[in-house]
């Protein structure tokens, strides 16, 4: 690990001011950043510790939503009774991620900022456009079984690893950030980028912007929601494919629906095409398959990951069937 200086931020303005230094990075729970520093993928000159700032609460918002402080630990968020009752797929997504020990450390803000687990990104002896822009992407022709089928580019086929963010994408969450220019709110579905020709940029955050909270809007249909994760072992593994979905049915027809996929793209994939296809349809296997196919028509699988198209379709159809039952 390269040497670095450490500063614990006393307050939000202090944190934002300290990170203005070139080479500085915010430190939350550290479960991904410290590991990447050890691997040599990240080498900040200064760590600005924001883990003890008073962003550790979950508070009601006017209108019925919830504001989740950026420092709330993943384990605490998953255990919160308001989250479990009103947004169960979010609790399920958090509980499907990492291990008990890691969830006790990992923060809400840090979870959004975690980097891809693409093996080439994590191996500094290999080229990687995300780690070293312009060096190339060996994954396009190499080991890409677990990588993207949607929204990728010739420069990068990485996937975003978060489970939490998939549920947040389905539920129209917004990310609240601050900078010297003041606060701004970014819809979660726009927070993470597609790689295009700048895969080194995972998110739309500007230099020095600090995540202070994630806001969940009041969303009554989220009370009937599920998160389904498909992975290579029963626990403590990243998703091959995951689905967060909420469904409202009346008189046998779909009134409203929210769907997002994980494991398929460089960002959580909000399935707006599938949602539009489903609204007003008879809630049953036929419509569910048609909706999945409509969304996945945009898929461009790589040589070894076409299985993800079938897996994503099956995962979505099963999740919707469970919700409709």
């Amino acid at each position: 690990m390269r040497p670095f200086r450490y500063e614990r931020a006393a307050d939000e303005p202090g944190a934002v001011a300290a990170v203005a230094e070139p080479g500085a990075k915010f430190l939350g729970g550290g479960t991904n950043l410290v590991d990447l520093m050890r691997l040599g993928v990240e080498s900040p000159s200064l760590l600005v510790d924001v883990s003890r700032l008073p962003f550790d609460r979950i508070e009601p918002l006017k209108g019925g939503g919830l504001r989740i402080g950026a420092g709330v630990r993943n384990s605490e968020l998953a255990a919160d009774s308001r989250i479990r009752e009103r947004y169960p797929a979010l609790a399920e997504a958090l509980l499907a991620g990492a291990s008990g020990q890691l969830r006790n450390l990992a923060t809400t803000g840090g979870n959004l900022m975690q980097r891809t687990r693409c093996p080439y990104f994590q191996d500094v002896t290999m080229p990687c456009n995300k780690r070293e822009p312009g060096s190339g992407c060996p994954a396009v022709e190499g080991e890409h079984r677990n990588l993207a089928i949607l929204g990728h580019s010739e420069h990068c086929v990485a996937t975003h690893p978060s489970d939490m963010a998939v549920a947040l994408a389905a539920f129209d969450a917004t990310v609240r950030v601050v900078s010297p220019e003041g606060p701004r709110d970014i819809p979660l579905v726009e927070f993470h980028r597609l790689p295009g020709d700048e895969p080194q940029r995972d998110t739309v955050l500007g230099d020095g912007e600090l995540i202070v909270a994630v806001d969940l809007p009041a969303l009554p249909l989220a009370a009937l929601s599920r998160y389904r994760k498909v992975r290579e072992r029963a626990s403590f593994a990243f998703a091959l494919v995951s689905v967060a979905a909420a469904l409202e049915v009346a008189d046998g027809r779909v009134v409203d629906v929210r769907i997002a996929f994980g494991g398929l793209a460089h960002r959580p994939w909000r399935a707006t095409v599938a949602e539009q296809t489903l609204r007003g349809e008879v809630a049953g296997p036929e419509a569910f398959v048609a909706a999945a196919d409509a969304e996945l028509a945009a898929a461009r699988p790589l040589r070894d990951n076409a299985y993800k198209v079938d897996l994503a379709r099956a995962a979505l159809v099963q999740t919707l069937e469970e919700l409709a039952a």
Binding site: S75, N104, S235
Partner: protein, 164 residues
């Protein structure tokens, strides 16, 4: 910086790169917590930080000013084994023993989480209060790898300590 380890206050000057795990093992001679993978994937380094289980390999020691760390060395009191330590012995919950300190510290934290009503991935309905059983224990302990495969006896030991 200063932190409490097993009830004792330590005031230290540290390289910022020092992990809690290296501080424990290399500076303080507390070699119970083990370095398995050093990437947060195996759980052999699990300790309790302010009562919650955490991977000591991923914590930078310099961030821990004022916190209370409990390691496997700090679980016994007055020479009496912690109930989980006793249960691991009684149920033969190990073979080579390398993962055991992490397993036991993790189980201490896990049982407190279950006691507090925290759900897990094995909880069928996250809106309900989960009841601990073997499936719940296996899921909640998935952050601790045992390469000897002593899992059946590890689960039995935790069931015994939990009074199941």
């Amino acid at each position: 910086m200063s932190l409490h380890i097993n009830g004792e206050l330590h005031t230290l000057e540290l390289d910022t790169r020092t992990s809690l795990l290296d501080l424990l093992r290399e500076r303080l001679g507390l070699t119970g917590a083990k370095k398995g993978c050093d990437h947060g994937q195996c759980g052999a380094c699990t300790v309790l930080v302010d009562g919650r289980r955490a991977n000591a390999c991923l914590l930078l020691a310099v961030t821990l000013g004022g916190v209370h760390v409990t390691t496997i060395e700090g679980l016994a009191s007055d020479g009496d084994l912690h109930p989980l330590q006793a249960a691991f012995v009684a149920q033969d919950g190990f073979q080579c023993g390398y993962c055991t300190p992490g397993q036991i510290c993790s189980a201490v934290g896990m049982l407190a989480e279950a006691e507090a009503g925290w759900p897990s991935h094995a909880t069928a309905d996250v809106t309900a209060t989960p009841a601990l059983d073997a499936d719940e224990i296996r899921e909640r302990m998935s952050g601790n790898i045992c390469r000897c495969g002593a899992y059946p006896n590890i689960v039995a030991a935790i069931e015994e300590a939990a009074g199941l």
